[in-house]
């Protein structure tokens, strides 16, 4: 029997790398500063950018007892990926040689205009890095006051929200409750399976932000979030609304109309060969426009579900969950991006698997 990577993480001692991203001034460093003070981040290494205002981010960061590497050549996502890889490998080597304190997690803070996918690609595709680090959650900060405007006017901000695993609405103490609710609803539309939390400048969110991820022991909890808990739903929304179909304040004509969510389901167990050919072909043909993809699959010959997820052309190795999250055994795949019509995607998936 063919087997995917086991979700219990046995043998996977790679260090989780969390990507902290968010638009300019959205509070990434303030959040990081609070997180580093929490027990979850006690043995955490941090990679930050020094860009623009003479390393202002670095100056604000409390790095006591943290291993911090400042990349001095600019943005890690714009032609600096080799520096990021080199910095991570150097950090890992120093750790192995006992030159820096042992660390069990790395947080990579991007610049405000960065595409976080470039960071994921670096960690995932570098021939050496991928044996030492694994991509964990992407955490995106969104300003409660200016977030709506930034999402509407800046595609960088929109993409940072769309690829996130966790979104933190920051500076909530400066915004009205109604505007936070509206922003939450918009973010829920952009990225329905993302867990969205509102920060009131406390550190209680640390476990929420990094406690689970799809490639860790806790993959079952993460997938439960994706498909069944509807984590992005705002409190009070009806629980029985159709999957990922909430209504939010429209973003306007600039970017939102081209971004959609497609939820595909398949009732019968999937043939892995057919699915692999179909998805690899879909990613080749449409990967540039697929911002996020998450799937929970019922595969022929497997008793437990297989999880696949990815960003653009990057597809993570599939993971076998230890059990089904619920009694529902349908395969489901959610895509976010500038997508072809959902009925075409559904028809194609079905024909490939009937063949």
């Amino acid at each position: 029997m063919m087997q995917a990577q086991e979700s219990n993480g046995a043998g996977d001692d790679r260090i989780p790398a969390n990507v902290l991203t968010g638009f300019l001034g959205s509070g990434k460093t303030s959040l990081l500063k609070r997180l580093l003070a929490s027990a979850t981040f006690l043995n955490c290494a941090v990679l930050i950018n020094e860009l623009g205002e003479i390393g202002l981010d670095h100056q604000l960061l409390d790095v006591v007892d943290q291993e911090t590497v400042v990349l001095s050549n600019g943005c890690i996502c714009c032609g600096m990926r080799s520096d990021l890889a080199a910095a991570l490998l150097d950090l890992n080597e120093k750790r192995d040689r006992g030159l820096v304190p042992n660390f069990d997690r790395v947080v990579i803070e991007t610049t405000g205009l960065a595409d976080p996918v470039a960071v994921l690609n670096t960690v995932f595709n570098d021939a050496k890095l991928r044996h030492h680090f694994r991509v964990a959650t992407v955490i995106t900060t969104v300003d409660a006051v200016f977030g709506f405007q930034q999402l509407k006017e800046h595609p960088e901000s929109f993409k940072q929200a769309a690829v996130a695993d966790r979104i933190v609405i920051t500076k909530a103490d400066l915004a009205e409750g109604t505007s936070i609710g509206a922003l939450h609803a918009v973010l829920s539309e952009i990225n329905p399976s993302c867990l969205i939390v509102t920060s009131y400048n406390d550190a209680t969110e640390s476990e929420i932000l990094v406690g689970h991820d799809a490639n860790a022991r806790s993959a079952l909890n993460e997938v439960q979030h994706w498909f069944f808990d509807r984590p992005s739903a705002i409190r009070g929304r009806r629980a029985d609304t159709p999957l990922f179909s909430g209504r939010a304040k429209p973003l306007g004509p600039l970017h939102a109309p081209t971004i959609a969510t497609a939820s595909l389901t398949y009732d019968q167990p999937l043939d892995w060969t057919a699915f692999g050919v179909w998805l690899s072909m879909l990613v080749h043909g449409h990967g540039e426009k697929i911002l996020r993809m998450k799937g929970l699959l019922n595969v022929k010959g497997a008793d437990t579900p297989v999880v696949v997820h990815g960003v653009h052309h990057l597809v993570h190795p599939p993971v076998h969950l230890s059990a089904w999250p619920t009694e529902d055994r349908r395969s489901r795949l959610v895509l976010i991006g500038d997508l072809p019509p959902v009925d075409q995607l559904q028809k194609s998936l079905e024909l490939f698997n009937r063949g």
Binding site: V277, G285, P340, L351
Partner: protein
């Protein structure tokens, strides 16, 4: 590694699930999965006037009907090869591909 030419195989593609069992069992299952995928791919590749075969168990050989060929290592590289060789971007939503996979073509 290929025993004939010494070509090292690279990292596993996400679609290449690792077989379980003894070394012989893993080899047998891996071979069977690969041949099954080649057969399935050939149903799709008819839409692109090309075909694929297994190459030493570590690569695929994609060949056009006019004789051009490449040796991609995995599915991601295979679709890029098909596009280079034929000039057509592989798309699972195209009507031609769907007709092929449905057996109507």
């Amino acid at each position: 590694m290929c025993g004939l030419c010494g070509i090292l195989s690279g990292e596993a593609h996400w679609a290449d699930l690792a077989p379980q069992g003894s070394a012989d069992e893993r080899s047998r299952l891996g071979r069977r999965e690969r041949l099954g995928r080649v057969a399935y791919l050939n149903r799709v590749l008819g839409a692109f006037a090309c075909s694929v075969s297994d190459w030493q168990g570590c690569r695929y050989q994609v060949s056009t009907f006019t004789g051009k060929s490449e040796l991609p290592e995995n599915l991601a590289e295979l679709w890029a090869s098909v596009e280079r060789l034929t000039g057509i971007k592989p798309d699972p939503l195209s009507e031609d591909v769907l007709r092929r996979i449905s057996g109507d073509a």
